[in-house]
């Protein structure tokens, strides 16, 4: 692929939705789609989809639509999931356990390889195929394995300390389940996923 111009963040945020919908179409046995069809599935206009994708090259021909397999492959390259990213889970409570056992990562470019907690009572016990490791040895373990991606599922009041350790260990991307904003240096990416903030976006629109 040629050099890509700077792509707005909001466009980057839509690419995973395109990839997910296309992968689902492929699973359903479909081989060709159009920006119209994709748009209807996603509630995004066909023009927006064509414009977003055009930032990365020519993926479809006027009138014949998109080859789904080809577009999936290209989107995986663009989103850097033409490989598998190893991840750690920090925090082995309910959310951390659910993440550790979640089956939906591997075929979409990610896999959990280690789970950490600070509670001596659960360190050493198993979650699925993982033995819970101590956060005391976390920095070294992450460094040795060159892991760049972490999911943080500790209580809010422990989240910044854990994030600091992750950053020290070289982690560059943190999916944050703690309901708190993390301070991280430039070059480290955080995505927050707090169920209540999503619920509030909807309750705003509900007549009370």
């Amino acid at each position: 692929m040629d050099r890509i111009p700077i792509v707005p963040d909001i466009v980057v945020g839509r690419l995973p939705l395109y990839l997910r919908a296309l992968q689902r179409m492929a699973q359903e046995g479909q081989s060709i789609t159009s920006s119209q069809e994709l748009g209807e599935r996603l509630g995004i206009s066909a023009a927006q989809i064509r414009k977003d994708l055009s930032l990365f090259g020519e993926f479809g021909k006027q009138g014949t639509g998109y080859q789904i397999d080809y577009l999936v492959e290209k989107l995986r390259q663009i989103l850097h999931v033409d490989k598998i990213w190893d991840m750690v889970v920090v925090g082995a409570g309910d959310v951390g356990r659910a993440l550790s056992r979640y089956q939906g990562f591997t075929d979409r470019g990610f896999r959990v390889v280690m789970v950490f907690d600070k509670d001596p009572k659960i360190i050493g016990s198993q979650i699925g195929s993982f033995q819970i490791q101590s956060t005391d040895t976390m920095i070294q373990a992450i460094r040795e394995n060159c892991i760049l991606v972490a999911m943080l599922a500790v209580p809010a009041d422990q989240a910044q300390e854990a994030a600091d350790k992750l950053v020290e260990a070289g982690v560059k991307a943190i999916l944050n389940y703690a309901p708190i904003n993390l301070g991280v240096p430039e070059g480290v990416y955080v995505q927050n996923t707090d169920p209540v903030t999503y619920l509030l976006r909807m309750s705003y629109y509900l007549a009370s």
Copy 2:
């Protein structure tokens, strides 16, 4: 509060972040803040925060900042969480279990009141204080209790069917954990929270 003009969706999306940061400041014993301080916590410009809040009225005085308690109260009114919303959880797998037991809802305006699953092997068993109920009786139970909010944590291939039932039962807001786009009628709100789409937003920026 006076009649509110139409507020852009993107502003509505930031209000929960303001509320969360302000509640945290209050917890930490702080009583006054400024748009500067709030902006630094959130990585949002002070000007943006002032502009967003000004859509809803006058909340601070030039030079003296915001009274945190007052602004929290106002934001709770605006987001309709000056009451508690009852919620159902559909799907009692790992994610559904984590949501059912999550301690962070109640003091932020929501509470789980029922948990449903379609698997006869687990219907009747307990998650925390909830007895798992059959999805066969879900529509009636939701209607009788006038519940408007649901969290959907079933596998992707069961999600649309479950969402259709929720809509039929009168649910107006669905927090969707299944990695699939749901079709719902107008007037029903869906927020998607698929960990992989968030991870992909970050892996885009990581050199592979």
